[in-house]
Protein backbone atom coordinates (compact mmCIF):
# COMPACT_ATOMS: atom_id res chain seq x y z
CA UNK A 1 0.00 0.00 0.00
CA UNK A 2 2.74 2.46 0.96
CA UNK A 3 4.74 1.48 -2.10
CA UNK A 4 1.76 2.13 -4.35
CA UNK A 5 1.15 5.49 -2.70
CA UNK A 6 4.80 6.37 -3.24
CA UNK A 7 4.61 5.59 -6.95
CA UNK A 8 1.35 7.50 -7.18
CA UNK A 9 3.03 10.56 -5.66
CA UNK A 10 6.11 10.24 -7.85
CA UNK A 11 3.98 9.68 -10.94
CA UNK A 12 1.85 12.69 -10.05
CA UNK A 13 4.85 14.95 -9.50
CA UNK A 14 6.58 13.82 -12.70
CA UNK A 15 3.30 14.11 -14.60
CA UNK A 16 2.81 17.66 -13.36
CA UNK A 17 6.38 18.50 -14.37
CA UNK A 18 5.88 16.94 -17.79
CA UNK A 19 2.73 19.03 -18.19
CA UNK A 20 4.59 22.18 -17.18
CA UNK A 21 7.50 21.41 -19.55
CA UNK A 22 5.57 20.20 -22.58
CA UNK A 23 2.25 22.03 -22.17
CA UNK A 24 3.51 25.34 -23.55
CA UNK A 25 5.26 23.56 -26.43
CA UNK A 26 2.11 21.57 -27.19
CA UNK A 27 0.08 24.76 -27.27
CA UNK A 28 2.52 26.19 -29.79
CA UNK A 29 2.24 23.08 -31.94
CA UNK A 30 -1.55 23.29 -31.81
CA UNK A 31 -1.49 26.87 -33.06
CA UNK A 32 0.80 25.82 -35.89
CA UNK A 33 -1.84 23.48 -37.31
CA UNK A 34 -4.90 25.55 -36.40
CA UNK A 35 -6.69 27.44 -39.14
CA UNK A 36 -9.42 28.95 -37.00
CA UNK A 37 -9.39 29.17 -33.20
CA UNK A 38 -10.93 31.72 -30.89
CA UNK A 39 -12.28 31.95 -27.36
CA UNK A 40 -14.18 30.19 -25.81
CA UNK A 41 -13.37 27.14 -27.96
CA UNK A 42 -10.95 24.81 -26.23
CA UNK A 43 -9.58 23.41 -29.48
CA UNK A 44 -9.16 24.86 -32.96
CA UNK A 45 -12.39 24.99 -34.99
CA UNK A 46 -10.68 23.97 -38.19
CA UNK A 47 -7.32 22.36 -38.73
CA UNK A 48 -4.87 22.21 -41.55
CA UNK A 49 -1.63 23.36 -43.05
CA UNK A 50 -3.02 26.40 -44.82
CA UNK A 51 -0.73 28.80 -42.96
CA UNK A 52 2.29 26.62 -43.65
CA UNK A 53 1.68 27.24 -47.33
CA UNK A 54 1.54 30.95 -46.63
CA UNK A 55 4.75 30.96 -44.59
CA UNK A 56 6.71 28.85 -47.05
CA UNK A 57 5.45 30.20 -50.36
CA UNK A 58 8.39 31.49 -52.41
CA UNK A 59 7.45 35.17 -52.17
CA UNK A 60 6.80 35.21 -48.41
CA UNK A 61 8.42 37.53 -45.88
CA UNK A 62 9.11 34.53 -43.65
CA UNK A 63 11.34 32.80 -46.20
CA UNK A 64 13.17 36.06 -46.88
CA UNK A 65 13.81 36.65 -43.20
CA UNK A 66 14.87 33.03 -42.73
CA UNK A 67 17.39 33.64 -45.50
CA UNK A 68 18.58 36.82 -43.77
CA UNK A 69 18.83 34.99 -40.44
CA UNK A 70 20.92 32.17 -41.93
CA UNK A 71 23.19 34.59 -43.79
CA UNK A 72 23.81 36.58 -40.60
CA UNK A 73 24.37 33.39 -38.59
CA UNK A 74 26.93 32.04 -41.09
CA UNK A 75 28.93 35.28 -41.17
CA UNK A 76 28.75 35.46 -37.37
CA UNK A 77 30.14 31.91 -37.11
CA UNK A 78 33.06 32.75 -39.40
CA UNK A 79 33.87 35.95 -37.52
CA UNK A 80 33.42 34.39 -34.05
CA UNK A 81 35.56 31.35 -34.80
CA UNK A 82 38.34 33.45 -36.29
CA UNK A 83 38.48 35.14 -32.87
CA UNK A 84 37.54 32.16 -30.67
CA UNK A 85 40.06 29.67 -32.10
CA UNK A 86 43.19 31.71 -31.28
CA UNK A 87 41.73 32.94 -27.98
CA UNK A 88 40.55 29.45 -27.05
CA UNK A 89 43.95 27.99 -27.96
CA UNK A 90 45.74 30.52 -25.77
CA UNK A 91 43.38 29.96 -22.86
CA UNK A 92 43.19 26.18 -23.27
CA UNK A 93 46.98 25.84 -23.25
CA UNK A 94 46.94 27.90 -20.07
CA UNK A 95 50.12 29.91 -20.55
CA UNK A 96 48.60 33.28 -21.34
CA UNK A 97 49.94 36.14 -19.24
CA UNK A 98 46.67 38.07 -19.61
CA UNK A 99 44.51 35.04 -18.94
CA UNK A 100 42.48 36.57 -16.10
CA UNK A 101 42.04 39.93 -17.83
CA UNK A 102 41.03 38.25 -21.10
CA UNK A 103 38.44 36.08 -19.37
CA UNK A 104 37.09 39.09 -17.49
CA UNK A 105 36.66 41.14 -20.69
CA UNK A 106 34.95 38.24 -22.43
CA UNK A 107 32.66 37.69 -19.45
CA UNK A 108 31.59 41.34 -19.18
CA UNK A 109 28.69 41.09 -21.66
CA UNK A 110 27.26 38.28 -19.50
CA UNK A 111 27.52 40.31 -16.30
CA UNK A 112 25.58 43.41 -17.39
CA UNK A 113 21.94 43.58 -18.43
CA UNK A 114 22.26 44.09 -22.14
CA UNK A 115 19.28 46.21 -23.21
CA UNK A 116 20.86 49.54 -22.22
CA UNK A 117 24.08 48.53 -23.96
CA UNK A 118 22.24 47.62 -27.17
CA UNK A 119 20.44 50.95 -27.08
CA UNK A 120 23.79 52.74 -27.08
CA UNK A 121 25.35 50.43 -29.65
CA UNK A 122 22.43 51.30 -31.91
CA UNK A 123 23.07 54.99 -31.31
CA UNK A 124 26.78 54.64 -32.08
CA UNK A 125 26.09 52.45 -35.13
CA UNK A 126 23.61 55.02 -36.37
CA UNK A 127 26.40 57.58 -36.47
CA UNK A 128 28.68 55.09 -38.23
CA UNK A 129 26.03 54.10 -40.78
CA UNK A 130 25.92 50.53 -39.45
CA UNK A 131 22.31 50.57 -38.27
CA UNK A 132 20.01 48.49 -40.40
CA UNK A 133 22.94 46.69 -42.05
CA UNK A 134 23.82 43.01 -41.99
CA UNK A 135 27.32 43.88 -40.76
CA UNK A 136 25.94 45.80 -37.77
CA UNK A 137 23.78 42.85 -36.72
CA UNK A 138 26.68 40.43 -37.25
CA UNK A 139 28.92 42.50 -34.95
CA UNK A 140 26.29 42.53 -32.19
CA UNK A 141 25.70 38.78 -32.51
CA UNK A 142 29.44 38.09 -32.41
CA UNK A 143 29.96 39.95 -29.14
CA UNK A 144 26.91 38.21 -27.70
CA UNK A 145 28.07 34.67 -28.50
CA UNK A 146 31.82 35.13 -28.19
CA UNK A 147 32.34 34.22 -24.54
CA UNK A 148 30.71 30.83 -24.84
CA UNK A 149 32.42 30.22 -28.17
CA UNK A 150 35.81 30.92 -26.58
CA UNK A 151 34.89 28.82 -23.57
CA UNK A 152 33.97 25.75 -25.64
CA UNK A 153 37.03 26.21 -27.86
CA UNK A 154 39.29 26.50 -24.79
CA UNK A 155 37.81 23.29 -23.37
CA UNK A 156 38.38 21.55 -26.71
CA UNK A 157 42.02 22.65 -26.88
CA UNK A 158 42.63 21.78 -23.23
CA UNK A 159 41.48 18.23 -23.96
CA UNK A 160 44.14 17.75 -26.67
CA UNK A 161 47.39 16.30 -25.37
CA UNK A 162 50.10 18.98 -25.69
CA UNK A 163 52.80 16.31 -26.11
CA UNK A 164 51.51 15.51 -29.59
CA UNK A 165 52.20 19.06 -30.70
CA UNK A 166 55.70 18.88 -29.18
CA UNK A 167 56.31 15.63 -31.02
CA UNK A 168 55.40 17.30 -34.32
CA UNK A 169 57.77 20.15 -33.49
CA UNK A 170 60.56 17.63 -32.78
CA UNK A 171 60.30 16.09 -36.24
CA UNK A 172 60.65 19.52 -37.77
CA UNK A 173 57.19 21.08 -38.09
CA UNK A 174 56.94 24.84 -37.63
CA UNK A 175 54.86 26.04 -34.64
CA UNK A 176 52.01 27.13 -36.91
CA UNK A 177 52.07 23.88 -38.88
CA UNK A 178 52.07 21.82 -35.69
CA UNK A 179 48.99 23.64 -34.44
CA UNK A 180 47.16 23.53 -37.77
CA UNK A 181 47.87 19.90 -38.65
CA UNK A 182 47.87 18.29 -35.19
CA UNK A 183 46.00 20.30 -32.57
CA UNK A 184 43.20 21.87 -34.59
CA UNK A 185 42.07 18.58 -36.22
CA UNK A 186 42.09 16.86 -32.81
CA UNK A 187 40.05 19.69 -31.31
CA UNK A 188 37.71 19.77 -34.31
CA UNK A 189 34.65 18.20 -32.59
CA UNK A 190 34.78 20.84 -29.86
CA UNK A 191 35.32 23.63 -32.38
CA UNK A 192 32.35 22.25 -34.31
CA UNK A 193 30.27 22.45 -31.13
CA UNK A 194 31.44 26.02 -30.69
CA UNK A 195 30.41 26.86 -34.26
CA UNK A 196 27.01 25.21 -33.85
CA UNK A 197 26.45 27.13 -30.63
CA UNK A 198 27.31 30.48 -32.23
CA UNK A 199 25.10 29.66 -35.22
CA UNK A 200 22.03 29.03 -33.06
CA UNK A 201 22.73 31.92 -30.71
CA UNK A 202 22.75 34.17 -33.74
CA UNK A 203 19.68 32.52 -35.27
CA UNK A 204 17.68 33.03 -32.06
CA UNK A 205 18.99 36.43 -31.02
CA UNK A 206 16.25 39.02 -30.64
CA UNK A 207 17.09 42.02 -28.44
CA UNK A 208 20.23 43.22 -30.22
CA UNK A 209 18.69 42.77 -33.66
CA UNK A 210 15.60 44.64 -32.51
CA UNK A 211 17.65 47.76 -31.81
CA UNK A 212 20.43 47.50 -34.39
CA UNK A 213 18.65 45.81 -37.30
CA UNK A 214 15.82 48.33 -37.73
CA UNK A 215 14.48 49.24 -40.17
CA UNK A 216 16.01 47.14 -42.93
CA UNK A 217 17.16 43.86 -41.42
CA UNK A 218 14.31 41.52 -40.48
CA UNK A 219 15.45 38.22 -39.02
CA UNK A 220 13.13 35.33 -38.26
CA UNK A 221 12.79 36.16 -34.52
CA UNK A 222 11.82 39.75 -35.42
CA UNK A 223 9.24 38.48 -37.91
CA UNK A 224 7.86 36.12 -35.26
CA UNK A 225 7.65 38.95 -32.73
CA UNK A 226 5.79 41.22 -35.15
CA UNK A 227 3.40 38.44 -36.16
CA UNK A 228 2.69 37.59 -32.53
CA UNK A 229 1.96 41.17 -31.50
CA UNK A 230 -0.26 41.61 -34.55
CA UNK A 231 -2.28 38.57 -33.42
CA UNK A 232 -1.18 36.28 -36.29
CA UNK A 233 -0.67 33.38 -33.90
CA UNK A 234 -0.52 30.77 -36.66
CA UNK A 235 2.33 32.55 -38.43
CA UNK A 236 4.06 33.20 -35.08
CA UNK A 237 3.69 29.54 -34.06
CA UNK A 238 5.04 28.18 -37.34
CA UNK A 239 8.07 30.48 -37.31
CA UNK A 240 8.59 29.68 -33.62
CA UNK A 241 8.65 25.96 -34.50
CA UNK A 242 11.24 26.66 -37.19
CA UNK A 243 13.38 28.34 -34.50
CA UNK A 244 12.64 25.63 -31.93
CA UNK A 245 13.64 22.51 -33.86
CA UNK A 246 17.35 23.36 -34.18
CA UNK A 247 17.46 24.48 -30.52
CA UNK A 248 16.20 21.15 -29.24
CA UNK A 249 18.49 19.31 -31.66
CA UNK A 250 21.35 21.38 -30.32
CA UNK A 251 20.52 20.36 -26.75
CA UNK A 252 20.84 16.71 -27.73
CA UNK A 253 24.12 17.29 -29.61
CA UNK A 254 25.81 19.52 -27.04
CA UNK A 255 25.54 16.92 -24.30
CA UNK A 256 28.22 14.94 -26.07
CA UNK A 257 30.63 17.86 -26.03
CA UNK A 258 29.92 19.55 -22.74
CA UNK A 259 30.81 16.80 -20.32
CA UNK A 260 31.50 17.90 -16.78
CA UNK A 261 35.16 16.88 -16.95
CA UNK A 262 35.63 19.01 -20.05
CA UNK A 263 34.15 22.05 -18.33
CA UNK A 264 36.31 21.42 -15.28
CA UNK A 265 39.48 21.96 -17.29
CA UNK A 266 38.57 25.50 -18.26
CA UNK A 267 38.09 26.87 -14.75
Amino acid sequence: MRVMLGWLLRGGALGALAFAVFGPLANLALWAVAVQWYFPHKLPLSWGFRYWGEVFKPSSDALASLGTSILIAVITVVLSLSLAVPAGYALGRGRTPWRAALLLILLLPQAFPSVAVYVNIARIFYGAGLNGTILGVVLVHTVHGLVIAVWIAAAAFAAVDGELELAARNVGASPLRAVLTITVPLAAPGLMASAIFVFFESLDEFTGTYFVGVPDVTTLPLLMFTASLAGNYQIAAITALVLLVPSVGFMLVIERFLKAEMLARVG
Binding site: L108, P113, D204, M224
Partner: protein, 260 residues
Protein backbone atom coordinates in the same frame (compact mmCIF):
# COMPACT_ATOMS: atom_id res chain seq x y z
CA UNK B 1 36.41 43.92 -30.28
CA UNK B 2 34.49 43.28 -27.08
CA UNK B 3 36.09 46.47 -25.82
CA UNK B 4 34.79 48.60 -28.67
CA UNK B 5 31.43 46.92 -28.96
CA UNK B 6 30.64 46.45 -25.31
CA UNK B 7 32.77 48.46 -22.93
CA UNK B 8 32.58 51.64 -25.01
CA UNK B 9 28.76 51.59 -25.30
CA UNK B 10 28.60 50.72 -21.60
CA UNK B 11 30.64 53.80 -20.73
CA UNK B 12 28.58 55.80 -23.19
CA UNK B 13 25.40 54.77 -21.37
CA UNK B 14 26.85 55.76 -17.99
CA UNK B 15 27.91 59.19 -19.25
CA UNK B 16 24.63 59.75 -21.04
CA UNK B 17 22.66 58.87 -17.91
CA UNK B 18 24.37 61.58 -15.86
CA UNK B 19 24.28 64.42 -18.39
CA UNK B 20 21.53 66.61 -19.79
CA UNK B 21 20.85 67.02 -23.50
CA UNK B 22 23.30 69.92 -23.79
CA UNK B 23 26.07 68.04 -22.05
CA UNK B 24 25.89 69.41 -18.51
CA UNK B 25 26.40 66.90 -15.72
CA UNK B 26 23.18 66.43 -13.73
CA UNK B 27 20.85 64.01 -12.00
CA UNK B 28 17.81 65.29 -13.92
CA UNK B 29 17.49 62.04 -15.87
CA UNK B 30 17.27 60.07 -12.67
CA UNK B 31 14.66 62.37 -11.13
CA UNK B 32 12.53 62.02 -14.25
CA UNK B 33 13.16 58.26 -14.29
CA UNK B 34 11.98 57.74 -10.72
CA UNK B 35 9.00 59.99 -11.27
CA UNK B 36 7.87 58.22 -14.44
CA UNK B 37 9.07 54.68 -13.86
CA UNK B 38 9.43 54.29 -10.10
CA UNK B 39 6.59 51.76 -10.05
CA UNK B 40 8.15 49.81 -12.92
CA UNK B 41 11.49 49.66 -11.11
CA UNK B 42 9.80 48.13 -8.07
CA UNK B 43 7.81 45.82 -10.35
CA UNK B 44 11.02 44.66 -12.07
CA UNK B 45 12.73 44.05 -8.73
CA UNK B 46 9.81 41.97 -7.45
CA UNK B 47 9.53 39.93 -10.67
CA UNK B 48 13.24 39.14 -10.74
CA UNK B 49 13.42 38.42 -6.99
CA UNK B 50 10.40 36.10 -6.97
CA UNK B 51 11.55 34.32 -10.14
CA UNK B 52 15.06 33.87 -8.77
CA UNK B 53 13.71 32.45 -5.53
CA UNK B 54 11.43 29.99 -7.34
CA UNK B 55 14.23 28.98 -9.72
CA UNK B 56 16.51 28.33 -6.74
CA UNK B 57 13.91 26.20 -4.95
CA UNK B 58 13.06 24.17 -8.05
CA UNK B 59 16.71 23.70 -9.00
CA UNK B 60 17.49 22.49 -5.47
CA UNK B 61 14.54 20.09 -5.58
CA UNK B 62 15.46 18.71 -9.01
CA UNK B 63 19.15 18.42 -8.17
CA UNK B 64 18.34 16.86 -4.80
CA UNK B 65 16.08 14.22 -6.29
CA UNK B 66 18.64 13.40 -8.97
CA UNK B 67 21.27 12.74 -6.29
CA UNK B 68 19.16 11.20 -3.52
CA UNK B 69 16.25 9.64 -5.40
CA UNK B 70 16.02 5.95 -4.55
CA UNK B 71 13.92 5.01 -7.58
CA UNK B 72 16.12 4.71 -10.63
CA UNK B 73 13.24 4.91 -13.09
CA UNK B 74 11.94 8.15 -11.59
CA UNK B 75 15.46 9.64 -11.58
CA UNK B 76 15.99 8.72 -15.24
CA UNK B 77 12.63 10.23 -16.25
CA UNK B 78 13.33 13.43 -14.30
CA UNK B 79 16.80 13.75 -15.82
CA UNK B 80 15.36 13.42 -19.29
CA UNK B 81 12.44 15.71 -18.59
CA UNK B 82 13.76 18.81 -16.89
CA UNK B 83 16.25 19.95 -19.54
CA UNK B 84 13.89 20.53 -22.43
CA UNK B 85 13.45 24.30 -22.07
CA UNK B 86 17.23 24.84 -21.73
CA UNK B 87 17.92 25.93 -25.30
CA UNK B 88 14.49 27.19 -26.22
CA UNK B 89 14.97 30.82 -27.28
CA UNK B 90 13.31 33.36 -24.97
CA UNK B 91 11.20 34.68 -27.80
CA UNK B 92 9.86 31.20 -28.56
CA UNK B 93 9.24 30.57 -24.85
CA UNK B 94 7.31 33.84 -24.73
CA UNK B 95 5.16 32.83 -27.70
CA UNK B 96 4.52 29.39 -26.15
CA UNK B 97 3.42 30.97 -22.88
CA UNK B 98 1.39 33.63 -24.65
CA UNK B 99 -0.86 30.84 -25.88
CA UNK B 100 -0.44 28.32 -23.04
CA UNK B 101 -1.42 30.79 -20.28
CA UNK B 102 -4.10 32.54 -22.31
CA UNK B 103 -7.74 32.35 -21.41
CA UNK B 104 -8.37 29.39 -23.70
CA UNK B 105 -4.83 28.03 -23.49
CA UNK B 106 -4.02 24.44 -22.66
CA UNK B 107 -3.40 25.24 -19.01
CA UNK B 108 -6.81 26.66 -18.26
CA UNK B 109 -8.48 24.00 -20.39
CA UNK B 110 -6.70 21.19 -18.58
CA UNK B 111 -7.48 22.58 -15.13
CA UNK B 112 -11.05 23.07 -16.31
CA UNK B 113 -11.27 19.49 -17.56
CA UNK B 114 -9.95 18.26 -14.19
CA UNK B 115 -12.71 20.27 -12.55
CA UNK B 116 -10.29 22.49 -10.65
CA UNK B 117 -11.32 25.82 -12.16
CA UNK B 118 -14.00 27.24 -14.37
CA UNK B 119 -12.46 28.76 -17.49
CA UNK B 120 -15.36 31.12 -18.06
CA UNK B 121 -14.61 32.83 -14.74
CA UNK B 122 -10.85 33.10 -15.36
CA UNK B 123 -8.94 35.77 -17.17
CA UNK B 124 -5.75 33.87 -17.99
CA UNK B 125 -2.36 34.47 -16.45
CA UNK B 126 -0.99 36.94 -18.95
CA UNK B 127 0.23 39.56 -16.50
CA UNK B 128 3.04 39.66 -13.93
CA UNK B 129 2.35 36.01 -13.10
CA UNK B 130 2.90 35.04 -16.73
CA UNK B 131 6.27 36.80 -16.80
CA UNK B 132 7.37 34.91 -13.68
CA UNK B 133 6.13 31.56 -15.05
CA UNK B 134 8.00 32.13 -18.32
CA UNK B 135 11.24 33.10 -16.57
CA UNK B 136 11.06 30.15 -14.20
CA UNK B 137 10.23 27.76 -17.05
CA UNK B 138 13.15 28.98 -19.13
CA UNK B 139 15.87 29.46 -16.48
CA UNK B 140 15.29 26.59 -14.02
CA UNK B 141 16.89 23.94 -16.27
CA UNK B 142 20.07 26.02 -16.55
CA UNK B 143 20.48 26.46 -12.78
CA UNK B 144 19.38 22.88 -12.12
CA UNK B 145 21.99 21.61 -14.59
CA UNK B 146 24.77 23.53 -12.82
CA UNK B 147 23.58 22.57 -9.35
CA UNK B 148 23.02 18.90 -10.10
CA UNK B 149 26.46 18.74 -11.68
CA UNK B 150 27.99 20.12 -8.49
CA UNK B 151 25.88 17.76 -6.36
CA UNK B 152 26.97 14.73 -8.37
CA UNK B 153 30.61 15.66 -7.74
CA UNK B 154 30.18 15.69 -3.95
CA UNK B 155 31.70 13.06 -1.72
CA UNK B 156 29.09 10.32 -1.34
CA UNK B 157 30.60 9.28 1.98
CA UNK B 158 29.03 12.02 4.10
CA UNK B 159 25.66 11.46 2.45
CA UNK B 160 25.81 7.69 3.07
CA UNK B 161 26.86 8.35 6.66
CA UNK B 162 23.86 10.62 7.20
CA UNK B 163 21.55 7.97 5.67
CA UNK B 164 22.98 5.40 8.03
CA UNK B 165 22.43 7.64 11.02
CA UNK B 166 18.79 7.86 10.01
CA UNK B 167 18.53 11.31 8.46
CA UNK B 168 15.71 11.77 5.94
CA UNK B 169 16.23 12.81 2.32
CA UNK B 170 14.99 16.36 2.87
CA UNK B 171 17.21 16.85 5.88
CA UNK B 172 20.28 15.57 4.02
CA UNK B 173 19.50 17.89 1.14
CA UNK B 174 19.15 20.97 3.36
CA UNK B 175 21.83 20.31 5.94
CA UNK B 176 24.53 18.45 4.01
CA UNK B 177 24.18 18.89 0.26
CA UNK B 178 22.94 22.46 -0.21
CA UNK B 179 25.60 24.14 1.97
CA UNK B 180 28.29 22.42 -0.11
CA UNK B 181 26.88 23.53 -3.48
CA UNK B 182 25.83 27.01 -2.32
CA UNK B 183 28.60 28.69 -4.34
CA UNK B 184 27.52 27.10 -7.63
CA UNK B 185 23.88 27.80 -6.81
CA UNK B 186 24.55 31.49 -6.22
CA UNK B 187 26.58 31.80 -9.44
CA UNK B 188 23.74 30.17 -11.37
CA UNK B 189 21.13 32.41 -9.79
CA UNK B 190 23.17 35.58 -10.40
CA UNK B 191 23.55 34.64 -14.08
CA UNK B 192 19.85 33.83 -14.29
CA UNK B 193 18.82 37.15 -12.74
CA UNK B 194 21.11 39.14 -15.06
CA UNK B 195 19.54 37.29 -17.98
CA UNK B 196 16.06 38.15 -16.74
CA UNK B 197 17.07 41.80 -16.51
CA UNK B 198 18.22 41.64 -20.15
CA UNK B 199 15.17 40.11 -21.78
CA UNK B 200 12.95 42.42 -23.75
CA UNK B 201 10.65 40.03 -25.59
CA UNK B 202 9.09 38.23 -22.61
CA UNK B 203 7.58 41.25 -20.81
CA UNK B 204 6.34 42.77 -24.08
CA UNK B 205 4.76 39.56 -25.33
CA UNK B 206 3.35 38.24 -22.05
CA UNK B 207 2.03 41.42 -20.51
CA UNK B 208 1.58 44.49 -22.62
CA UNK B 209 0.12 46.90 -20.08
CA UNK B 210 1.49 48.85 -17.12
CA UNK B 211 3.25 48.23 -14.85
CA UNK B 212 5.91 46.56 -16.92
CA UNK B 213 9.61 45.77 -16.70
CA UNK B 214 12.21 48.49 -17.18
CA UNK B 215 13.65 46.82 -20.29
CA UNK B 216 10.36 47.66 -22.03
CA UNK B 217 10.51 51.24 -20.74
CA UNK B 218 14.02 51.65 -22.12
CA UNK B 219 12.95 50.50 -25.58
CA UNK B 220 9.89 52.76 -25.41
CA UNK B 221 11.87 55.81 -24.31
CA UNK B 222 14.27 55.38 -27.24
CA UNK B 223 11.81 54.38 -29.94
CA UNK B 224 9.05 56.84 -29.08
CA UNK B 225 10.94 59.89 -27.80
CA UNK B 226 14.63 59.30 -28.69
CA UNK B 227 15.14 60.12 -25.01
CA UNK B 228 18.52 58.50 -24.42
CA UNK B 229 19.02 60.27 -21.08
CA UNK B 230 16.12 58.57 -19.31
CA UNK B 231 16.69 55.27 -21.17
CA UNK B 232 20.28 55.24 -19.96
CA UNK B 233 19.29 56.22 -16.43
CA UNK B 234 17.02 53.16 -16.46
CA UNK B 235 19.97 51.22 -17.81
CA UNK B 236 22.07 52.33 -14.85
CA UNK B 237 19.27 51.18 -12.53
CA UNK B 238 19.39 47.77 -14.21
CA UNK B 239 23.19 47.64 -13.82
CA UNK B 240 22.75 48.44 -10.14
CA UNK B 241 20.23 45.62 -9.74
CA UNK B 242 22.57 43.16 -11.43
CA UNK B 243 25.49 44.61 -9.49
CA UNK B 244 23.75 44.14 -6.15
CA UNK B 245 23.10 40.50 -7.04
CA UNK B 246 26.80 40.06 -7.78
CA UNK B 247 27.67 41.98 -4.61
CA UNK B 248 25.65 39.55 -2.49
CA UNK B 249 27.73 36.80 -4.02
CA UNK B 250 31.08 38.49 -3.39
CA UNK B 251 30.15 39.46 0.16
CA UNK B 252 29.20 35.91 0.87
CA UNK B 253 32.59 34.85 -0.38
CA UNK B 254 34.32 37.34 1.92
CA UNK B 255 32.51 36.30 5.07
CA UNK B 256 32.43 32.56 4.46
CA UNK B 257 35.50 31.69 2.44
CA UNK B 258 35.07 27.97 3.14
CA UNK B 259 31.59 27.81 1.65
CA UNK B 260 32.91 28.60 -1.80
Amino acid sequence: MVLTLFVYPLGFSLVSAFTTKDGQPSFANFLKTFELYGADIVFTLIIVAVSTLLIGLLAAAIGGYLVLGAHTAAVVVLKWLYRWPLFVPFIVAAQCMRTFLAKNGIMNNTLDALGLVDTAALSGLLDWRGIIVTFVWKETPFVALLVSGAMAALDRGTIEAAWNLGAGGLRILIEIILPQVAGVMVVGLVLASVTMLSVLSVPIMISGGAPTMITVDMAFRVNAYSDYGVANALGVVSYLMAGSAAWVYLRRGATQPDAL
